[in-house]
C-alpha cells in the first residue's frame, strides 16, 4: 500500500516534468530562416501592390472631381423660365423643347432636379383638343339622317306618324321574340 502523501508527491513530480516537457518543445530546425523568408516575401509583395493602389486611388479621385464639375455645370444650365401652362396649346410647343416642370427635391439643400426628355419629331405631342362635357361627343349627321331631318321639318305630322308606326313595329317584334324564347320551356313544363 502506497502512502497517499507519497503518491501526491509522485504525481506532482510527474506533473512538473510533463509541463516542463510541453513548455520546452523545439520547433523544426530552421524556424528563424523560414520566418525571415516569409517577411522578405511580404516586403517584396507590398511595393508591387502600391503603384496599382495609387493608380486606382488617382482614378477614383479624378472620377469624383469630374462628377462634381459635371453636376455643377448641369445645375447652372437655365431651365424653362415660365411655369408650365396647361392652358397653352401643346401644338404651339416645339417637339424638342418639351420641358417638364421643375421637380422639387425632398431634400432642402439639394438643388431642384430638372427632368428633360428629348422626343423625336414623330413622337411629338398631337395638338390637344378641348375636353367636352358630353360623351360620346356629338357627330355630324349622316346623309340618310340629314334627309330624314329635312323630311320631318317639311312634313311634321307624317313624320310623327311614321315614327309611331316604327316604334310600334319594333315593340311587336320584341314581344314576339320573347314569346318564341319562352315557348320551349312552356312545352317542357306541360310534359
Amino acid at each position: 500500500m502506497i502512502d497517499p502523501r507519497e503518491q501526491e508527491q509522485r504525481i506532482d513530480a510527474w506533473l512538473a516534468q510533463a509541463l516542463q516537457a510541453s513548455g520546452s518543445v523545439e520547433p523544426r530546425p530552421g524556424l528563424e530562416q523560414r520566418v525571415l523568408a516569409t517577411l522578405q516575401a511580404e516586403r517584396n509583395r507590398r511595393p508591387a501592390a502600391r503603384p496599382w493602389l495609387w493608380a486606382a486611388g488617382a482614378l477614383a479621385v479624378a472620377l469624383l472631381l469630374f462628377a462634381t464639375i459635371w453636376q455643377g455645370i448641369t445645375a447652372r444650365r437655365p431651365t424653362v423660365d415660365k411655369p408650365f401652362d396647361t392652358t397653352t396649346s401643346a401644338a404651339k410647343m416645339p417637339a424638342t423643347a418639351n420641358v417638364r416642370p421643375v421637380v422639387e427635391s425632398p431634400h432642402r439643400n439639394t438643388p431642384p432636379q430638372v427632368v428633360r426628355k428629348k422626343l423625336s419629331p414623330a413622337a411629338a405631342p398631337k395638338p390637344a383638343e378641348p375636353r367636352l362635357a358630353q360623351f360620346p361627343s356629338p357627330q355630324p349627321l349622316s346623309r340618310e339622317e340629314a334627309g330624314f331631318a329635312q323630311y320631318a321639318a317639311r312634313y311634321p305630322e307624317q313624320a310623327t306618324l311614321m315614327a309611331r308606326e316604327q316604334e310600334q313595329f319594333a315593340r311587336e317584334n320584341r314581344e314576339l321574340e320573347l314569346k318564341l324564347q319562352s315557348t320551349p320551356q312552356l312545352q317542357e313544363s306541360e310534359r
Binding site: 501526491e8 510533463a18 520547433p27 523544426r28 517577411l39
Partner: protein, 185 residues
C-alpha cells in the same frame, strides 16, 4: 498590464534600423514565440503558422518597435493573441471533431515525454481546465516566461498568476489521483 506599460513613453535611441531590429527579434525570440503558440495550439504546424503570423504583425507595426521597452513581453503578447485567435478558428472549423477529442496528442511534447499516452492524457486534463486557470498554467510552463511576463501577457497581476497556477496544478493532481485510484479498483 496593458500595451502602455509595455510600450515606453519615449523612443529609445537606437542605432539599428527597423529592419535590423526586426531581424534580431526573430533570431532572439522566435523560439519563445513558437512555444507560446504551441502551448495554446498543441500542434507543431499550427504553432509554426502562428509564429509566422506573429512576426508578420510585427512587420506591420514595425514603426512602433523603437518605442517598445520590453520587446519580449510585447512579442509574447502578440503571439498569445495570434494563437488564441487561431485556436478559436480551428475550434469553429472542426467543432464536431473536437467534441470527441479536444486536441490530438501533441507530437513534440509526446516525444519529449517518457510515455506518449500519459502525455495525451495530461493534455486532455489541461484542456478541460477553465480558461482562467489553463492560460496561466500553460504560459508559465513555457521555459523562458517569467511570472511577470505571463502577467503582462494575460493582463493580470503576478500574484494572480501564481495563485491560478497553484489552483490549476491542484485540480490536475486531484484528477490524476482519481484516475489512478479508479484504475486500480
Amino acid at each position: 498590464m496593458t500595451d502602455e506599460s509595455i510600450l515606453g513613453r519615449e523612443a529609445i535611441p537606437l542605432a539599428q534600423s527597423e529592419e535590423d531590429l526586426l531581424e534580431s527579434l526573430i533570431l532572439e525570440h522566435s523560439r519563445v514565440v513558437y512555444r507560446i503558440a504551441f502551448s495554446v495550439l498543441r500542434q507543431p504546424q499550427e504553432a509554426e503558422d502562428a509564429t509566422q503570423e506573429t512576426f508578420l504583425r510585427v512587420l506591420r507595426y514595425r514603426s512602433k518597435l523603437p518605442f517598445v521597452e520590453d520587446r519580449k513581453a510585447w512579442l509574447a503578447q502578440i503571439a498569445w493573441r495570434v494563437a488564441i485567435d487561431s485556436r478559436r478558428k480551428t475550434i469553429r472549423k472542426r467543432e464536431d471533431e473536437l467534441a470527441e477529442t479536444p486536441y490530438s496528442a501533441p507530437v513534440t511534447s509526446a516525444a519529449a515525454m517518457p510515455d506518449p499516452q500519459q502525455s495525451a492524457m495530461l493534455d486532455r486534463l489541461i484542456d478541460a481546465l477553465p480558461d482562467q486557470l489553463r492560460h496561466p498554467l500553460v504560459l508559465s510552463a513555457v521555459q523562458e516566461m517569467s511570472p511577470r511576463e505571463v502577467a503582462s501577457v494575460l493582463e493580470i497581476s503576478e500574484a494572480a498568476v501564481r495563485s491560478r497556477v497553484f489552483r490549476a496544478k491542484q485540480i490536475l493532481r486531484d484528477r490524476i489521483l482519481g484516475l489512478t485510484t479508479r484504475g486500480k479498483s
